[in-house]
Symmetry: C2
Subunit: 413 residues, 2 copies
């Protein structure tokens, strides 16, 4: 089993073949959830899974469960997978790499005639991206009990079409109740969507969790004033105040190993010769630990409290998501699988289906590098070697984990 | 003559009466240049000047020259005045105070039977605000030779109506060639449009000049990136870079006694969970001296050159106006006239007709406080006492200057 190798060329060919479903002229992929393109790629996957001897079921939200039997078929399956949908200007790897690597794992096991103790379950989660129907990770969230089926079906896209209508239009729904399946474990392979592995020339990220996030809106109100007749010390400049907060948030994030981003800033009634009197801005704070998030929020609030008296501030937290810590056992299996490759532990800054799955099942993620950290972009790129390495670690982690969580008595049976 | 007092109540009554021309429900004035409202206030002024024994002439751009004869009527007149037009949301004082105070000076001299050596010329300059026809100070500029008559007539408003067409529609033009009149001196009384006099509880600003201004556009380009998966030290955040420049410009302006304002800042494709990849912003730098402007620009350029390597910058100067230094003799006359009142020297941060007049004639300005430094606003406000004090200083400065610049032999003639 130690010498069992996935077929990197086949995996790459599958990646290139599926990139035709929604493929765009610039080399990207536009495959919004529950569209004709999504239907095509779903049908492709189902056909390949059936050909590989899997049983196929779908739940009532279109989540796809492709099952390879285990020696102990009464055990809960060990799951792999990710999602097939993309952003409007997406690429060839985000999501689908994790699904196609899972298919490659199954085909490799078949060819080698290897039977696992646990059944293996390849999963395609519906509507991970959240581009067509917000919020993101909608149907892994429903599987985990975060969203109800009714809530999911009632989401609408920009044209007012509901998720339920779109689901029915492409006949993606199945008969299985949402959340009926239990997993003994779940492994999700994904491109990093960040620059760390590439920068450190590593092949594998052992993803120990997902950062917690807190989103805020901040309104700053000073006093609009004539740029030529208001001395610097008589101003209440909302943009100058904002500049201090932007730099302060960056400093504290760097110090605490977190992330702070001001992505939007809009001056009210801007004019080049008027001191900005008011503005609105956003803060996106992220950290792997609650304590880190708490410290960043406290620092931001302290900085706001320390603004000059002429500036008033209204800070509102509009959304938050707690940090996710993946399962130590699953992580041990991934680390062991990656031991011959350059690897490091890391925390995902982006949300993933695995973050919701982790609420119900032992879970871990595997990252491989992507060029320049770029994703959600037609230029999104990963090398054939890194994709193959990721799939190999997925296979090995699954086999290691299958043995590890099977009691000796069971395994011997 | 030392006891000659202007009539503050009459001045105030005239201010309130003329505020009806274009008066708005919120107490402000909307009297765009060369509109029906402007025509009304022009007719009112002309009638009052004729009643006061003035001769009236208009040049071909509608600049109004209301002349009170002097004992030496061959001498160039000493001029006073400002403008009657307002911003779209203007107030009762910006511009018209300087004109009505000049009228008050003439009526006071008439009542006291005082003859000055030089003729006195009350001027209303067309289109000071620049709100309807850009640029501002258009017709004092034409008088000073900065703009040609053809250039002025060809300016268009937001509806595409040319200055020339608007001028003819309200019959505001006269026969006099533009710039035909020479002035022996010019004094312009105006509200400060800033908070300095009020803050220091002073009544009179002796305006020694107008700040030089330089306007810039700056584009910053970094790299858009995922807010959750791009470590702080791997970012090229255009907004973070801009924040440093905003604070740096503020610091250097404070240190050098200048003004720096970033009034507009627009992030390209903003999103709360994307590190800003590019943005555009403006800089408005002002200083009373060229050397100060030069130092501020050098500092800004040095800060831009010092940005992290991942940020590229494109700085373009789009407009500049050199500092104006008013005439020492005119300033001495204003200082002497103001000596019994709380006063200080100051540099105007806003442009004024006097800045162009100073290119051809010895010129000075007189400021009086306005509430909160507010102008270009319906709430623009000055007290009757301060308006009267300003008119008194205008009268006294004119009489002092008339004596000072008249050779003893002439005065005795």
């Amino acid at each position: 089993m130690e010498n069992l190798r996935i077929d990197g060329e086949r995996l790459w060919a599958n990646l290139m073949e599926t990139a035709r479903f929604g493929g765009t002229d610039d080399g990207g992929v536009r495959r919004l959830t529950l569209t004709a393109e999504d239907r095509e790629v779903r049908a492709w996957l189902e056909a390949r899974a059936l050909a590989a001897g899997c049983s196929v079921s779908r739940d009532r939200l279109g989540n796809m469960f492709l099952r390879r039997a285990g020696r102990r078929d009464d055990l809960a399956p060990i799951a792999m997978g990710s999602h097939l949908d993309t952003q409007p200007t997406g690429g060839k790897f985000d999501g689908i790499l994790g699904v196609l690597a899972g298919l490659e794992v199954i085909e490799t096991l078949n060819e080698a005639g290897i039977e696992t103790e646990h059944p293996i379950m390849l999963v395609n989660w519906t509507n991970e991206e959240g581009s067509r129907f917000a919020p993101a990770m909608l149907c892994s969230g429903a599987w985990a009990g975060v969203f109800t089926e009714d809530y999911v079906r009632a989401r609408t896209d920009a044209k007012g079409i509901s998720f339920g209508t779109a689901l029915d239009a492409v006949s993606a729904a199945g008969e299985a109740p949402v959340g009926a399946e239990d997993f003994a474990a779940m492994f999700e392979l994904h491109i990093e969507q960040g620059p760390v592995l590439e920068r450190e020339e590593l092949t594998i990220g052992v993803v120990t969790g997902v950062q917690g996030m807190r989103w805020y809106d901040l309104d700053l109100t000073g006093r609009a004033a004539h740029a030529g007749s208001t001395p610097m010390d008589a101003r209440a400049d909302a943009l100058l105040a904002a500049s201090g907060l932007i730099r302060g948030a960056s400093v504290i994030a760097s110090r605490l190993g977190g992330y702070a981003t001001v992505g939007e800033l809009t001056i009210r009634d801007p004019s080049r010769n008027v001191v900005p009197g008011a503005l609105s801005m956003t803060f996106d704070l992220r950290h792997g630990e609650d304590a880190g998030l708490e410290a960043m929020e406290s620092d931001l609030k302290a900085q706001i409290a320390g603004l000059e008296p002429g500036i008033s501030a209204d800070l509102r937290q509009i959304w938050s998501s707690p940090p996710v810590h993946f399962d130590p056992g699953c992580l041990a299996s991934v680390r062991e699988a990656a031991k011959s490759l350059g690897h490091r532990d890391m925390v995902s800054g982006a949300g993933h289906d695995a973050a919701y799955v982790a609420r119900r099942a032992p879970t871990a993620m595997i990252f491989v590098p992507c060029a320049g950290g770029l994703s959600h972009n037609p230029a999104e790129s990963a090398t054939p070697e890194d994709c193959a390495a990721g799939a190999q670690v997925l296979l090995d982690a699954l086999l290691i984990h299958d043995r590890r969580i099977t009691a000796p008595a069971e395994a011997a049976a």
